[in-house]
């Protein structure tokens, strides 16, 4: 599918969706879809000449004959969730703690999800045109943290999303159990493109952990373009874990936008452990004093895997704080990209913003491109970034060898320790252990949990 054909496909899907809307065509959500469709047409598919897509060529991704879920209702056998290996791994890691929310091809399916009505302070609803029309909070929040104008794939998601889920944490409530949003793409009958939409609304002083994971079933091509918006009201605390551990032929272009109000904080942990192609955009806007953003990520790639992490922290007001640590280990012919931008607006005095990015290349053919950026428009700030690319310290490896640890094992141990720094920041023990094991397996090392 050329770029032109892909646009035609988007057009056809959009008008097809519009036809099936019946009365909802004039509703507020569909107004957003229209704007998204226009924004996508205006921006077009980005090429590597586009600064934000300099290292990441999306054209090969568009070369398949995709169908959206609504167009190709497959009529094949229902999915057996337990048979999806990666899903099963992380579900059992969370065990009985997990509040499971199942989205298949973007559609939230309560029948396959955890019964959550008993959990105080948590409300989960499918995102529908009716809900957007009638619920003031949802209407104001939708598209507030992910603008179609700045990002062609946010525009695409906005244009084509007809399903999704709204997660609301009530004022003052703390949800201890991790809320797991699993996005499953059913590519058994055809190449599948899906555009799920997730909205997380944390009211004042609310706290919760949202875990997102992506899974492709079937051997056909899949392209998932998810958009998650997080609104953290005053003193809220939202922790967000993203796990990319899909099959090799899965492709993902995701966007997460967070709006953080006064004294609130949003922490993000991104794990790229699998999947043929991952492009992850994370934008955190600090909107009121004492808002905080924490961004961690680790990529452990091998084979032909590709992971591109783009982050933007936007300091819009004084007295906000952000910290960022992204690490990567690249084996095989994998390619890693890190693009981190810290933006400090003119009025955002007394900002503190720190960023670091470290990469380890362990194969001749692997490649890493880093672009840490500081754009500072205020003077009373403390901002820094550091970026390194290198290899293991041979003397440290020798130290281990001298103590009877084989060379290969010593190297794996060191590499594992390098990545573990980020994993350790994950508070859920079960999940942390599962990710540690997954990384160890990928590095052919024994997991060393203390």
């Amino acid at each position: 599918m050329s770029m032109e054909r892909f646009r035609e496909f988007v057009d056809a899907s959009f008008f097809d969706l519009e036809r099936r809307l019946n009365g909802a065509g004039s509703g507020p959500w569909h107004q957003l879809r229209r704007a998204g469709h226009q924004a996508f047409l205006t921006q077009g598919v980005p090429t590597t000449r586009h600064e934000e897509w300099k290292y990441t060529n999306v054209l090969p991704l568009l070369g398949l004959t995709y169908q959206t879920a609504s167009a190709g209702s497959s009529g094949v056998a229902p999915l057996n969730l337990a048979a999806i290996h990666s899903l099963d791994t992380y579900r059992s890691a969370m065990g009985s703690d997990e509040v499971f929310l199942c989205l298949i091809d973007g559609q939230y399916l309560p029948s396959l999800s955890t019964e959550h009505h008993q959990i105080q302070g948590l409300s989960v609803e499918p995102l529908t045109d009716q809900l957007v029309a009638n619920d003031n909070d949802v209407r104001t929040a939708l598209a507030s943290a992910a603008a179609s104008e700045g990002h062609p794939f946010v525009a695409l998601n906005t244009a084509l999303a007809s399903h999704g889920v709204v997660i609301r944490i009530a004022r003052g409530a703390t949800i201890e159990r991790p809320i797991h949003v699993a996005m499953i793409t059913d590519a058994r009958s055809s190449d599948r493109l899906q555009t799920p939409r997730v909205l997380v609304l944390a009211e004042e002083s609310a706290a919760a952990t949202i875990v997102e994971s992506y899974h492709t079933v079937g051997s056909n091509g899949s392209l998932i373009i998810p958009v998650t918006e997080i609104v953290a009201h005053r003193q809220a605390n939202v922790r967000r874990v993203t796990i990319h551990d899909d099959v090799d032929h899965a492709r993902l272009i995701g966007y997460t936008g967070a709006r953080v109000h006064g004294d609130a904080q949003v922490s993000s942990h991104v794990f790229c452990l699998g999947g043929g192609f991952v492009r992850n955009d994370l934008a955190i806007a600090l909107l009121e004093p004492n808002a905080q953003g924490f961004l961690d990520g680790v990529s452990v790639l091998a084979g032909e895997e590709y992971a591109d992490n783009h982050t933007v922290v936007d300091h819009t007001v004084p007295h906000c704080h952000s910290e960022e640590l992204y690490k990567g280990v690249y084996d095989g012919r994998s390619v890693g990209v890190f693009n981190g931008k810290i933006y400090v607006r003119p009025q955002a005095q007394k900002t503190t913003a720190y960023q670091s990015n470290h990469s380890l290349l362990i194969s001749e053919r692997a490649q890493v491109n880093a672009k840490p950026q500081l754009e500072i428009w205020a003077d009373d700030v403390k901002c820094s970034h550091g970026a390194t690319t290198g290899q293991l310290d041979e003397e440290a490896v020798f130290y281990l060898q001298a103590r009877g640890i084989g060379k290969a094992e010593a190297r794996a141990l060191m590499t594992y320790a390098f990545a573990a720094e980020v994993v350790e920041r994950l508070p859920h023990e079960g999940l942390r252990t599962a990710i540690e094991h997954r990384i160890a397996r990928k590095l052919h090392a024994e997991p060393f949990t203390v």
Binding site: E51, Y55, P346, Q349, S359, L361, I362, S363, E364, R365, A366, Q367, V368, N369, A370, K371, P372, Q373, L374, E375, I376, W377, A378, D379, D380, V381, K382, C383, S384, H385, G386, A387, T388, T389, G390, Q391
Partner: protein, 514 residues
């Protein structure tokens, strides 16, 4: 910035010398180390651009505008051989198809390339053989600029190839250089006298179609400097060119080509001042450096073109392409720049590290004040094995200026054991200015070690208070701290430039605190 008692003294001394020095320092002044505090205060108070004046030398002008005829006219004027004309025309045709770069983080009104005079040369009297025969107006201009040619001959041992507008007027020390076989002459003469060398190397580092302004320069360049250091020769003196934009509305397109043959060494100094004027002027120079095996080129710049007035009117547009190639093994290229002038600067002195074990260095201080905008940095392209590069960039922004560092470090798949270290610090003075960092780190070899760090902060209140407490007023304290902050870079400059640069830093920031 830690100021120990030791460090404080050292900074103070440097600061005092800096302010006492005449604009272009000469050695005898160097011995005068005692500071006269009243003089310091006087020079600090005045904050307008100090080197703005215009000299009335009769000029030979071409009509405004650019076409193939303009290119032919320039080439004919300089009696250039056919291949040179063809080369210029090829560049011109490529330029027609190119677009102005939009990616730099700078804003300026659109340039009308047809509203520029592409040729202006000081009127020639019959070939002056000595200084006596040179237009006295011209000599007076040099005197105002502070380039006493004769005095410098005796005092500093610096050979000066002074460029007034587009034609090199006076070249000194030719004899001494000739003895070593060093060629140091205006580009136009080199084209006549050493066509084989020029033809071999021109455009080999910056191809005609490299970028919009490089293509424009290739088509219409008027003159510049040509340097060739033969095998095994250590150039006996520092080579220096003072560029100077003179006639109104003449964009200046300099072209510099420096070739260091195997095992040679050269240090080249470039400095600029310009007269004050209202209209924006375009400066699009190209500098190419070629270092063969075991050769070393050190290229230093102090750039102080007219930055425009306090409200952002006027000033020079400085769009420069500078690139060097470490062609041979163990060669080294080092760029040092102090950028205080120009309304808009966009400049990325780069090193192509092709030879094994070659070294590239970039040391930069960029100061922006009032409405100045600078987007500057470097590119280090590691191709050979065991190549090393170091980047030290210090940005200082004040007023409502914008200062960006943009740099690329690229480690090719075959560049085994490449090593890079980059440090990019920004200092903000005032709450209206901006400092931005755009580093690109591209690594395709697992044996590479690439390190980048950047910080942005303002001068701490506690540090200023410490100085105030000891009787140093805030403005002087800022100048002191800035000089200390930039010392890593200033230390890389040849001595004459270091002094000049320190003074420039202080002057550029005048009126920025208060």
């Amino acid at each position: 910035m830690a100021l120990g008692s030791d460090g404080t003294r050292r900074h103070l001394r440097v600061f005092n010398i800096g302010l006492n020095w005449s604009y272009i320092a000469t050695l005898n002044e160097h011995t005068r180390t005692m500071a006269d505090s009243q003089q310091v205060l006087d020079s600090v108070v005045q904050s307008d651009y100090k080197y703005g004046f215009e000299s009335d030398i009769e000029q030979e002008l071409l009509e405004k505008g650019l076409s193939e005829d303009t290119v032919r006219f320039i080439s004919a004027k300089k009696n250039e051989p056919e291949w040179m004309l063809e080369w210029r025309l090829k560049a011109y045709r490529q330029w027609l198809k190119m677009a102005e770069p939009q990616w730099p983080n700078v804003k300026y009104p659109k340039i009308d390339f047809q509203d520029i005079i592409y040729w202006a040369a000081p009127k020639k009297k019959e070939g002056p053989a000595s200084l006596d025969e040179v237009d006295p107006e011209l000599l007076a201009t040099f005197a105002k600029l502070g380039i006493p040619l004769e005095e410098q001959k005796m005092l500093t041992g610096v050979a000066v190839d002074a460029v007034l507008d587009s034609v090199s007027v006076k070249t000194t020390f030719q004899e001494a250089l000739k003895k070593e076989g060093v060629i140091f002459m205006p580009m136009s003469e080199a084209i006549q006298e050493h066509p084989d060398l020029v033809q071999k190397y021109i455009g080999s580092v910056v191809p005609t179609n490299d970028n919009f302004y490089a293509a424009l320069n290739s088509a219409v360049f008027s003159d510049g400097s040509f340097v060739y250091i033969p095998k095994g020769v250590r150039c006996p003196m520092e080579l220096s060119t003072y560029f100077r934009i003179n006639a109104r509305n003449t964009g200046q397109f300099e072209r510099t080509l420096i070739i260091a043959d195997e095992g040679s060494y050269v240090s080249y100094l470039e400095g600029c001042t310009a007269p004050q004027r209202d209209e924006n002027q375009l400066h699009a120079a190209v500098v190419e450096l070629i270092a063969h095996a075991d050769a070393e080129i050190k290229y230093s710049t102090v750039q102080n073109w007219y930055p425009g007035d306090k409200d952002g009117h006027g000033g020079i547009y400085n769009f420069v392409t500078k690139r060097g190639i470490c062609e041979g093994a163990r060669s080294k290229i080092s760029w040092t720049q102090v950028e205080t002038g120009s309304a808009v600067t966009w400049k990325y002195p780069s090193c192509v590290l092709k030879g094994d074990d070659s070294i590239g260095e970039f040391y930069s201080v960029a100061v922006t004040n009032h409405h100045q905008q600078a987007d500057t940095g470097t590119k280090m392209l590691h191709i050979g094995k065991n190549t090393r590069s170091r980047i030290v960039s210090k940005g200082i922004s004040a007023g409502v200026s914008q200062n960006s560092y943009r740099g690329l470090v690229k480690i090719n798949a075959r560049a085994e054991n490449a090593r890079n270290y980059s440090q990019c610090d920004s200092l903000l003075i005032g709450d209206q200015c901006g400092a931005h960092t755009f580093p690109y780190l591209e690594t395709s070899n697992p044996t590479a070690t690439v390190e980048h760090e950047a910080t942005t902060s303002k001068i701490g209140e506690d540090i200023l208070f410490y100085c105030n407490q000891r009787g140093i007023d805030t403005e002087a304290a800022v100048a002191l701290i800035v000089n200390g902050y930039a010392r890593d870079v200033l230390n890389q400059l040849p001595m004459e430039f270091a002094v000049e640069a320190q003074k420039l830093l202080a002057i550029s920031l005048e009126g920025s605190v208060g």
